[in-house]
């Protein structure tokens, strides 16, 4: 916390300075630190503000009196309500004043020992001991799209210095919860440990989208590739593959790459590639010239089947 000065210190006057004296000092300082007179000095503005605030308080006889009585602070705000010691003492901060050499009950055994109990719960003596399952612990884990599609391991931070490598099954969906048995809180009196419940968030991918176990991809192709057919490289979740585009493929045509979708062991999904024809440089004079001759000889209305609006 920055050291807060009293308004008297800000102006450099004595606490018993007269109103006249304060006004004189204020005018002198205000002239010296006015931001408009110090355009190159950002610190002047802060100084001017504190000078103004100090004068604002001290020039008002009533405010000045309240400040002197400690009813308001240097910003003119009412003093905050007192925070009683008990409000801290029972919390984590209170541990600072924990009696030295006294109870440091880091686990239940210490607690039993401190009160002379036998700690029978842990030994589980017959019907007297009781056992309880440990508490479940909840976590969230963000997984990138490809890991979710093909599976893998991802490191989860359970606590500072405590890590868990979580196996991500291929095909996990956004919002799905993985339950890792026995990775939660410890059991009590011999009871089983709780589980770690991990809510998984799957990140979006710039190219791929997902539809069930299938991966959807929109693939740009050129006019020549669309008309003449081609073999092109297509990205999939397991790496690029070569795919044949049949002659005369239109925008919207869908081609299926079997087994290139979500990599489930049984019945992996497919990647469905939707073609999208791009003309590229549409001002190409050669193409325009050709179409001017070709168009009239091959009349075709792609909007024929459209219902009228």
């Amino acid at each position: 916390m920055a050291t807060t000065q009293t308004p008297y210190q800000v102006l450099g006057v004595k606490p018993d300075a007269s109103a006249d004296e304060i006004r004189k000092v204020y005018r002198k300082l205000a002239k010296e630190f006015h931001p408009d007179l110090n355009p190159g000095k950002p610190e002047a503005e802060a100084r001017f503000k504190s000078i103004s605030a100090a004068y604002d308080l001290l020039s008002d006889a009533e405010k000045r009196a309240r400040y002197d009585r400690g009813e308001i602070d240097e910003s003119g705000a009412e003093r905050p309500q007192r925070n009683y010691y008990r409000g801290y003492a029972e919390g984590a901060e209170g541990r600072r004043y924990q009696p030295e050499g006294e109870m440091n009950l880091s686990d239940l055994e210490d607690l039993f020992a401190a009160f002379g109990s036998a700690g029978r719960g842990r030994r589980g003596q017959g019907s007297e001991g009781f056992r309880a399952r440990g508490a479940d612990r909840h976590f969230t884990l963000t997984v990138d799209f490809l890991t979710a599609a093909i599976g893998g391991k991802q490191r989860l931070s359970l606590a500072p210095e405590e890590w868990l490598d979580v196996t991500i099954p291929p095909g996990i969906e956004d919002g799905q919860v993985l339950r890792l048995r026995g990775k939660g809180g410890p059991g009590f009196g011999g009871g089983a440990a709780g589980d770690a419940l991990i809510e998984v968030h799957v990140e979006a991918h710039p190219l791929f989208r997902r539809d069930g176990d299938n991966i959807l991809l929109e693939l740009p192709i050129s006019l020549a590739e669309a008309v003449l057919g081609a073999r092109v490289s297509v990205p999939t979740v397991t790496g690029p593959v070569t795919m044949s585009i049949p002659k005369g493929s239109d925008t919207g045509r869908q081609l299926r790459l079997r087994g290139k979708g979500i990599q489930k062991k049984k019945n992996p999904g497919d990647e469905i590639v939707t073609l999208k024809v791009f003309i590229g440089d549409s001002s190409d004079p050669e193409l325009a010239e050709f179409l001017e001759k070709w168009g009239p000889r091959h009349p075709f209305d792609p909007r024929q089947g459209m219902p009228s609006a």
Partner: protein
């Protein structure tokens, strides 16, 4: 957090020598930083409490360690009890029921029960 000088300004009734003695006696445990002391909120609250014990309850510095020692023990117990209660509250209802039954009644408690 508040620096020593600011604290002395804020608590007008607090005397510098008095506070120094309290810190030396380890009744107040500020953080040491660059040759000065930084007081956390818990320390400030504790100082206000000690001021009251000293001046309003007129308990002198001879008796003060006794009072503070007992207070610290009470708060330590309350912290531990709170930990225990939090742990119990996190248990399934069946477990809580078992513990409730296992709690022996306090002597004389029947009279106040409704």
């Amino acid at each position: 957090m508040i620096a020593l000088e600011d604290l002395l300004k804020r608590l007008k009734e607090l005397d510098r020598r008095e506070l120094t003695r309290w810190v030396e006696n380890r009744w107040v445990l500020p953080e040491r930083r660059d040759e000065t002391w930084i007081f956390h909120e818990v320390d400030v609250a504790r100082i206000e409490l000690i001021l009251e014990i000293r001046h309003e309850f007129a308990i002198d510095e001879e008796a003060l360690p006794l009072v503070l020692g007992l207070l610290d023990q009470v708060y330590d117990l309350r912290r531990q009890l709170r930990r225990m209660c939090d742990a119990l509250a996190a248990q399934p209802p069946e477990v809580q029921a078992i513990i409730r039954e296992a709690l022996p009644p306090l002597v004389g408690a029947e009279a106040t029960q409704d």
